[in-house]
């Protein structure tokens, strides 16, 4: 049973990581909690459903459009809402409340447009998974784990090697100094939203295929993704991915020994422990704790 438990943990962790990495990227650059990231995921998942199941577009095209749509949606949220608030010198708390409002707004919009029923994208047929070293796993679940790991590597190189990535780190480190050397913080914020939301689009596709669609899926995903990001060290993208996997492991191994009703309790107990004893998270070492 141990291999299966390991696989279950990896799948859960990978899904949390898909949510946490985009969220964490936006947080580390813009320094505020963008809860509406969950809305980007949910709305993009419904967009994929609309393209693929309603309009009958090919799956490949639908996937590409969904990722573009997610980027655009995130960028618009920043441009239309957050930017205006920043210009009025809104505090972090105001931005946080705004992100909640956006999340609820988009969930209500989904409810209005698509109704409360469960929706399935129906691209992957439900079938028995295949045996892999004593555990059962489906092809889609392998893709989810692989994508989340590849994303981790890609994001690492993006932040370290590309011009935009370096500029993002510069703004994250010290916005004023970055602006002095000619980096436009507003531009970099836009980029953070575009890249972070594109990851949300990828998450939307994979989570939508694996878990079906529901209007409130964004909130549920965000709760676990946020927890993973905090455990891993908010502001550090690799940390967020690591924290998400740790969360997946803790939950699944936890309820193997404890009654399964404690699943969420385990997740939040870990969150509390980290907040109390290691608020900078797993990968918080050596970072200047501003």
């Amino acid at each position: 049973m141990f291999p299966q438990l390991l696989v279950n943990s990896l799948i859960a962790g990978a899904i949390y990581a898909l949510v946490a990495s985009g969220f964490s990227l936006i947080y580390s650059t813009c320094k505020f909690v963008h809860f509406a990231h969950g809305a980007t995921i949910a709305f993009s998942a419904y967009f994929l459903y609309f393209l693929f199941s309603d309009l009958g577009l090919s799956f490949g095209l639908s996937v590409i459009f969904t990722i573009i749509f997610a980027s655009l949606l995130g960028w618009l949220m920043d441009k239309v809402v957050y930017k205006k608030l920043r210009q009025r010198k809104a505090s972090k708390v105001i931005l946080l409340m705004t992100s909640f409002a956006l999340l609820i707004f988009f969930e209500s919009l989904i409810l209005m447009l698509f109704g409360a029923d469960v929706k399935t994208i129906g691209y992957v047929k439900i079938a028995r998974g295949f045996d892999f070293l004593g555990a059962i796993i489906t092809p889609l679940q392998i893709v989810i784990i692989a994508v989340s790991l590849v994303l981790l590597v890609l994001l690492y190189f993006f932040m370290k090697r590309t011009k935009i990535g370096k500029a993002m780190r510069a703004v994250a480190d010290n916005k004023e100094v970055a602006e002095v050397v000619g980096i436009s913080a507003e531009n970099i914020y836009s980029w953070a939203f575009i890249v972070g939301s594109a990851i949300a689009g990828i998450a939307a596709i994979l989570v939508g295929l694996e878990q079906n669609l529901e209007p409130m899926m964004g909130t549920n995903l965000m709760i676990k993704g946020f927890t993973g990001a905090i455990i891993g060290g908010i502001g550090s993208v690799p940390g967020a991915v690591l924290g998400s996997f740790l969360l997946g492991f803790a939950e699944n191994f936890g309820i193997w020994f404890l009654p399964s009703g404690y699943k969420d309790a385990i997740a939040f107990a870990i969150l509390f422990i980290f907040l109390l004893f290691r608020h900078q998270g797993i990968l918080g070492i050596g970072r200047n704790s501003k």
Binding site: M1, Q4, L5, N8, I11, A12, I15, D117, V118, K119, T120, G122, K125, I126, A127, R128, G129, I136, T138, E210, Q211, N212, E214, M216, M217, N220, E251, N252, I255, W256, P259, S260, G261, K263, D264
Partner: protein
Amino acid sequence: MSKTLQIIIGIIIIAIIVALVFVFGTGKTTEGLVKIGVLAPLTGEASQWGVPPKEGIELALELIKNRVDNKKVEVIYEDTQCDPAKGVSAVQKLINIDEVDAIIGAVCSSVTLAIAPIVEKSEVPLISPASTSPKISDAGDYVFRVVPSDALRGEVFADYIKNDVGLNKVAILYINNEGGAGNKDSFKKRFEELGGKIVAIESYAQGTKDVKTQLMKIKNQNIQAIVIVSYPADSVIILKQAQELGLSLPLYFQTEALEDPFVLEAAGESANGVIYILQADPSGREVEKFENMFEEKFNRAPALYAAEGFDAFNLIIKAIKECKAETDLSSCIKDELYTIKNYQGVSGTITFDGKGDVLKPMAIKKIIENGKKKVLMIK
């Protein structure tokens, strides 16, 4: 006119009005008039469950031409908005000011539970057309309902699985909220009373999308079947993940969720062979007649609980007919309701048990394939 005189005249007028109200307004119902109060959420979020019973009652009132025997029937509607506090003031008004003989309501279980002690104390019988909480069974002698308690489903299902299918060892997987836990408890209690054994109980939070580890824990036990209490969205997830994990145990769903066409479509082949339980569809000439009359009056098909409102009203009228000579009409209605057996209502066959709960037949269905269903048994 001096000011003192004005005050004195004012006081006299008020005194006369108060005296008149006392003489004519109170005292048990005026001869030849029966009053029935209705408590339902007529506005607000829950109005989708409150308006249909009202419409059912309006239709029933029209059919008896506002009269029972030689008495006029008056129906007084009060809006509760599914709020226990509003329900309590509304029931106080119905009992103390309108002095109704019987009440139909409330719709939301929370409101029915809040007003139960008041009707009990005032000895006014009440029939709820829609409250399903198991707690209402013990809410009082004067409290009835024409919808089965959530507990009934669990009891009948336990009976079916233990005695008709002949399984002795099962595991339960349930959604951890009030409804889910209540359903689980009623199944567990009955199944163990019958000598069955619940080997494992696992749960998940509402909104969960991953039950793989729970299913694995159950799979490892020595059991014959899994009993599942779930909502529509998670039913799909459970079916999908059970299929993916190659779980070959029979699944018994103690929920009407599988009746939802969206669920069947989403679950596809993974739902094949699943057995589930829900209230049996009422059928027969009376039901058809009701549906036709309803459509004629309201220009649309009756929504959920319209038939229950119709039946609750007619049951009270039937009881009043039996209570011709009684001086205490309210208590008599209560006593008569307890004697109702196999009443052919439009919401199903109605028999009240000793707690005022209705016993209605349950249907056990099986999904054959491609979303096609077959009724295995009516119990």
